[in-house]
């Protein structure tokens, strides 16, 4: 158990030495009026460099990452993050540029961004886009603002409704709401799919559009996608594609060809950039031709072999983040995309789907998989029957996986599956890893019936046991408050 930085702090300890000041000293009062000066003490930690390094080295030992084991966290595409991405991204000639440098001094970086946009457009079948959104949800919000700007431009002020399947990721409704849309939840049919039938009632002049992910969060390909997209378009609406699941269909099926007008991708999923304990990510947005005018500014232009920022976009929704996106993440994604190439990306999707279906076929006999008989890159188990039979729930199974050095799947999502467990193995896992995992899942199943308490008490091999989340929320302690 690590102490907190504040608990190892010692007054007067110096951690780092700066160069000596080499311009003539100047009194603080001569620079900054007294009433603008800080009076409060800063109660920040004072530690040595060695302590700093040890602190984080030991914290790191207490964290699981995909570099350490199987991490089939559904919807998150925890694939291997190639180390070469770190090499290219840490090149100081990329990483040390200021966003407001003159354009002629960042031609290489602009080309990186331009190429990535070009390749992503081709991969998704879209026209062009922006790299400005800083994560998937941010991309969704950007997309919804583009919807809005489009309808505003057309004077269609009545279009305020966005259809979102009940199985959608929480960010979809949150982003649409944030952008001022009214959300209509569309239930899945008994196949786990959105049927044309289900959306038909809403195909009217109040419809702004629909947000879908395909394959959907059950890992199933939306079979009626073309009917849906035709219907939405005929009703004057737009289609938004949540690209979180793009890893299933690269080179196999393009959102642009499915009729989507706007989409985001998660570079930190499909394109192998590391997840960083929760970020930074990157959520590029791509659009069809008709929506180009609404993209955030600045765009990147290429003329006479010179790249430049283009600010003059009168219909643009404006800025959605401070500068141009998480450039460090963008370099990594381009590296990956270019190493993989067209065949590599297609092959990645194929193997991702193969791995998922292999797991699915092996777990099928014991665990209930309520929807579909084939999946794409992920699938969802319901532990409901086990729970009813043994009182062992999805979270218990998840915790038991931890005891087997496997990161749990996404649980209790999508909401339409009771006791949901969503597994996404990704393509970079070996058959041996999958086989080990299958064995563990079978053992857990047996234990659940034979000795349910054993599973309910998991994990036992970890440094901490289950944490009291109710107490955490009831009496929130969200910052260190001294030695109390």
């Amino acid at each position: 158990m690590n102490k907190l930085l504040f608990e190892i702090s010692r007054e007067g300890r110096i951690g780092y030495r700066f160069p000596e000041n080499d311009v003539p000293d100047k009194a603080l009062d001569d620079c900054i009026p007294e009433n603008l000066q800080r009076k409060r003490e800063l109660p920040l930690p004072e530690i040595s460099e060695h302590e700093l390094v040890r602190h984080y080295a030991n914290l790191a030992r207490r964290n699981f990452g995909v570099d350490f084991g199987f991490y089939p966290l559904g919807s998150c595409t925890m694939k291997y993050n190639p180390k070469i991405n770190e090499t290219t991204a840490s090149n100081p000639a990329f990483s040390q540029n200021h966003p407001l440098q003159p354009e002629e001094t960042i031609q290489g970086s602009l080309e990186v961004m331009y190429l990535l946009l070009k390749y992503l457009s081709e991969l998704t079948g879209m026209k062009w886009g922006t790299l400005q959104p800083l994560a998937g949800a941010h991309g969704e919000f950007t997309g919804m603002q583009i919807f809005k700007a489009y309808f505003r431009d057309r004077g269609e002020h009545k279009r305020t409704k966005v259809l979102i399947p009940t199985s959608a990721h929480g960010t979809n409704p949150a982003s649409a709401h944030l952008a001022g849309f009214e959300i209509i939840e569309i239930p899945a049919d008994n196949r786990g799919l959105v049927s044309f039938e289900a959306i038909e009632p809403y195909l009217n002049d109040e419809l702004a559009g629909i947000m879908l992910t395909n394959p959907n969060t059950l890992g199933l390909y939306e079979k009626e996608i073309m009917e849906i997209s035709r219907g939405v378009h005929q009703a004057g609406g737009l289609l938004y594609y949540d690209g979180a699941n793009m890893n299933a269909v690269m080179g196999k099926s393009r959102p642009g060809d499915m009729g989507f007008d706007v989409l985001h991708l998660n570079l930190h999923k499909t394109f192998s950039t590391p997840h960083g304990g929760g970020g930074p990510g990157s959520g590029p947005v791509l659009v069809q031709e008709a929506l180009l005018p609404f993209l955030p500014v600045p765009d990147i232009g290429l003329q006479d072999e010179k790249f430049s920022w283009i600010w003059n976009r009168p219909k643009s929704i404006g800025k959605v983040s401070g500068f141009y996106g998480n450039f460090g993440v963008i370099v990594r994604a381009l590296t990956y995309l270019m190493v993989m190439g067209k065949d590599g990306l297609t092959h990645a999707s194929e193997m991702a789907v193969l791995n998922a279906n292999y797991l699915r076929s092996q777990l099928n006999s014991l665990y209930e998989i309520p929807y579909g008989d084939m999946c794409k890159h992920e699938f969802v188990i319901s532990a409901k029957k086990i729970k009813d039979d043994t009182d062992v729930s999805a979270i218990d199974i998840a915790k038991s996986l931890i005891d087997n050095n496997i990161h749990p799947p996404t649980i209790y999502f999508p909401l339409i599956v009771p006791e949901a467990m969503m597994f996404e193995p990704t393509e970079t896992e070996t058959k041996e890893t999958l086989d080990d995992f299958i064995k563990v899942m079978k053992d857990i199943y047996k234990q659940a019936y034979a000795n349910p308490e054993y599973i309910q008490n998991a994990p036992v091999h970890t440094e901490i046991g289950r944490a009291d989340e109710v107490a955490a929320a009831r009496h929130p302690k969200v910052s260190w408050a001294g030695g109390e």
């Binding site: 504040f6 110096i14 951690g15 311009v23 001569d30 009433n35 000066q37 800080r38 800063l42 460099e49 390094v53 602190h55 914290l59 030992r61 964290n63 990452g65 570099d67 350490f68 991490y71 000639a93 200021h98 966003p99 001094t105 290489g108 990186v112 081709e122 079948g125 994560a135 929480g170 960010t171 079979k223 073309m226 099926s253 960083g276 304990g277 929760g278 970020g279 929704i317 800025k319 959605v320 401070g322 141009y324 998480n326 450039f327 460090g328 067209k342 065949d343 590599g344 193997m351 789907v353 193969l354 279906n357 076929s361 393509e427 058959k431 901490i464 046991g465 944490a467 969200v478 910052s479």
Partner: protein, 456 residues
């Protein structure tokens, strides 16, 4: 034994594939995609380059990077060129942090959870406010989240008052975020390089959810916020204060000014500028706004063995629970970058922050005085920490361009961000710049500006 070029990062041997297909009960990979309707199946060849070896792509990108050109930088305007200690970068590079995701499973994520808890604490310590979160995308979106919090907490109020001295990109972004018919922006105008607070009383009314101020402002000038919080609070509005947190090493902090919500970007704490990202948006607020906070929050609790444990908490605010009614849509944030900035703060400590501030301030004042001594140069006057603004009028672009030729990123022409700021050039000087570099800047500027005068 030619290598199969498709196999990048994919471990499957052809035997593996055969065995797995057989056990699934299909015969070809294509069968796994049979559920894709024929009319949306992609049957062409992607118009992308062929895959290449890592080595070739590394060379390719190395060559691209050499098309960039770095000069001696005096750029600021939201991103600052401070010294980054090697230990900070090293501490944050551990694969266990880098290759993990959001710490949903506390039993195997105490490392990241504790690091974020420490980040939250340090943001509270710096701002003097009570609560913070696990990070937001950047300082500009943090501004939007703060305004959004204010609107949520004051459901009936639909106006926000924004100083004209905030970063133009922040302003642009706020307009993107809050473009609803019923939301109104009111501008608190400029007076010289400062916000004209004499107008505040008249702008405040019972529609005002929040007042948004930035200090140091876009000109680098430190706003005098004496009495401002009282005005705002009398009106039952929220006082949102945006700041480069590096300045807290020396200047008054949000709690001292009476702010309810503090936002900004922690990039100056150990992150390279990286053409603008990743950086980290911070947000801190007074205690009673806790349940309105956006994004992830880590809390302290106990495990079933009685040990201290950290967990994601108050998730009922978030999109995965609340969906359309969440306080924010943010999911993935900037965790690793937040960890990096915590490590910076912890390493340099309060004395280090003071040192950085003192040196940056001293050097910035040294430069400004030397430039003003050139006579040809006017400034936007006002007290500042380590960024100041020159008023070069028509010569601004030419000055920057010619300084570039002499090896300097001389400053940011604010007119490029907002045409109303035409002629104003913001110059930032950090502890990283040496006297010799500053003297060269002055010399170069002198040559350019004096030459100009002769030619005019």
């Amino acid at each position: 034994m030619a290598q199969n070029r498709k196999y990048s990062y994919v471990p499957h041997t052809s035997e593996d594939i055969d065995e797995m297909l057989a056990s699934i009960g299909v015969s070809r990979i294509e069968d796994l995609f049979a559920d894709i309707p024929q009319d949306v199946k992609f049957t062409e060849v992607l118009g992308l380059p062929d895959g290449k070896s890592e080595y070739e792509i590394e060379k390719f990108l190395q060559n691209l990077s050499e098309k960039n050109d770095r000069k001696l930088s005096f750029l600021g305007c939201g991103m600052y060129d401070h010294i980054i200690p090697a230990a900070v970068t090293a501490a944050a590079s551990s694969p266990a942090f880098v290759t993990s995701y959001t710490p949903y499973q506390p039993e195997i994520s105490q490392g990241m959870l504790q690091a974020i808890f420490e980040f939250q604490t340090m943001i509270c310590q710096l701002t003097g406010l009570d609560v913070s979160n696990a990070s937001l995308y950047d300082g500009h979106t943090a501004a939007a989240e703060a305004v959004s919090m204010a609107f949520q907490a004051k459901k009936k109020r639909k106006t926000v008052i924004v100083s004209e001295a905030v970063h133009p990109f922040t302003l642009s972004l706020l307009r993107t975020y809050f473009n609803e018919q019923d939301i109104q922006f009111r501008s608190l105008p400029l007076k010289g390089g400062k916000t004209d607070f004499s107008q505040l009383s008249s702008l405040l009314d019972d529609t005002t959810a929040a007042v948004f101020i930035q200090t140091p402002n876009i000109f680098g000038i430190l706003e005098d916020l004496n009495g401002i919080s009282e005005l705002i609070h009398q009106n039952k509005s929220f006082f949102i204060l945006s700041s480069n947190p590096m300045n807290f090493g020396m200047t008054k902090t949000p709690s001292e000014w009476g702010a309810d919500i503090a936002v900004g970007d922690t990039q100056p704490f150990g992150l390279p500028a990286n053409l603008g990202g990743p950086s980290v948006g911070y947000i801190a607020a007074v205690k009673n706004l806790l349940r309105k906070m956006p994004g992830r929050i880590v809390g302290e609790t106990q495990d079933d063995r009685g040990q201290r444990a950290f967990v994601l908490t108050l998730q009922a605010r978030e999109q995965h629970i609340k969906r359309g009614r969440a306080t924010s849509n943010i999911c993935t944030n900037q965790a690793l970058a937040a960890l990096t900035t915590s490590a910076y703060i912890a390493l340099v400590g309060p004395m280090g922050l003071e040192e950085v501030n003192r040196q940056s301030m001293t050097k910035a004042h040294y430069l400004k005085e030397a430039l003003l001594a050139l006579k040809e140069v006017k400034d936007v006057p006002g007290p500042f920490a380590y960024e100041f603004t020159l008023d070069l009028g028509n010569r601004a672009d030419d000055f920057i361009q010619r300084m570039l030729g002499k090896g300097f990123f001389a400053g940011v022409h604010l007119g490029a961000l907002d045409s109303s700021l035409y002629g104003k050039v913001a110059v930032a000087v950090t502890e990283k710049r040496t006297k010799e570099e500053i003297d060269r800047y002055v010399e170069a500027a002198g040559e350019i500006l004096k030459g100009d005068q002769l030619n005019e």
